[in-house]
Symmetry: C2
Subunit: 240 residues, 2 copies
């Protein structure tokens, strides 16, 4: 499979401290899979400037597209925008277009565009804004990095506006089958199947249910006919 | 805070493809937090040998302790043990103590210890086994890396036997408060509070509920009295 590649960078102490269960990784993984972009790596790091700069540089160099979530609000721990700017050695400041978006939003809602909120208009030079239909404060795209909010509803809305701008590959076809046999009984024939269909990705994900061991076998690839053929061979080997 | 540091490496295509929602990260984060070990980074990577070796080496060098989950079963895509051995340049083969554990388990359950299952006895030289009370196949500890199963029940059981062997720091005290004000109204006073209590970690996690914006403010640190004092100042600033 030679689809475009992507990585995700989740920025936030709340995930690492066990306080919050991340929801954005699962959502992004499903959306990218549907448009044929391979999510190859996810990193979760804390609100630490050095860690953010290093991770943005490493992931941006290694993959076609990078998505970040978290750290673009108005509080002191929202440092993502400044660190992404630093990662690409770009100046950053309050930008007029972003300020105008915030000014209109807060005027409509009768709230004050104070100094803290104005931090959300800090956008690196040369970045393109990402629309935020929920709470106005925009994300942005700089080079191949899409900087988005951590709040799941806003993350999802931003992703919906970014996705159509990306070039996907062939959507990945996936078929799965539950086999109620120990993985150790499945492993031999499955390994042989994986060798015969070397351009498919064949995974085995064990489960345990009411004391019975089994495995979900998932066959994935760009070629639907091949996926179907491989699944037929699997079913012949392990009739249900 | 100068607690011991930890990282987690989640190995598995099923997370990156959006098929499975990871559960082990959230569990590990909570358990480590309770014993005063700071989870600093999580990486999710695919079943790719080069990626696993590189990630194990990078995380092992950067943090006191590393936990991996996934890829230690009997099927062709279970390559974690071999790659961890390679990361530390250690020989790996079927080890007698691990084989004995599997032989006893499969004899009891009337299943065959076939070639595929025997792969689960492949343990790097010098590693210590981690008990698996659920399905027998052991994890192992090599250097500062704990290699554990991806199935959540087994991951949790293995973690329970590893945790008491680790030296934790002072448990982290955490207090939180919901404030029903826009984050932009909270940001100024909160930033000043964070400056006054520079040895505490003060986070703001915005939420949206029935159209109302607010933020969870979380104050964390090793010193309970300081956490309480900072929370009192926050409550005085934003009475509920």
């Amino acid at each position: 499979m030679s689809n475009p590649t992507a990585a995700m960078l989740v920025i936030g102490d709340e995930i690492l401290s066990g306080r919050t269960r991340d929801a954005n990784m699962y959502h992004l993984a499903g959306e990218l899979s549907a448009v044929g972009i391979d999510l190859c790596e996810v990193r979760v790091i804390s609100d630490d400037p050095g860690a953010i700069v290093a991770a943005v540089q490493a992931l941006s160099a290694a993959y076609d597209t990078v998505f970040t979530s978290g750290g673009i609000g108005p509080t002191h721990d929202d440092i993502t925008a400044d660190n992404v700017a630093q990662a690409f050695d770009r100046p950053i400041g309050v930008r007029d277009d972003a300020r105008a978006i915030l000014a209109a939003h807060y005027e409509n809602s009768g709230q004050q565009l104070n100094e803290a909120r104005l931090r959300m208009a800090r956008i690196p030079d040369g970045a393109t804004l990402i629309d935020n239909p929920i709470s106005a404060a925009p994300g942005f795209t700089l080079e191949n990095v899409h900087v988005m909010a951590g709040v799941p509803t806003i993350f999802q809305a931003m992703l919906a506006s970014v996705l159509p701008t990306l070039t996907g590959g062939a959507p990945i076809i996936s078929q799965s089958q539950r086999i109620y046999r120990g993985e150790g009984d499945i492993a031999g024939p499955l390994g042989a199947l994986a060798k015969r269909y070397s351009n498919l990705s064949i995974g085995s994900y064990p489960f345990q249910q009411d004391g019975v061991f089994g495995a979900h076998i998932v066959i994935r690839g760009n070629d639907a006919a091949q996926v179907t053929a491989a699944m037929a061979e699997l079913n012949a080997e392990f009739p249900t």
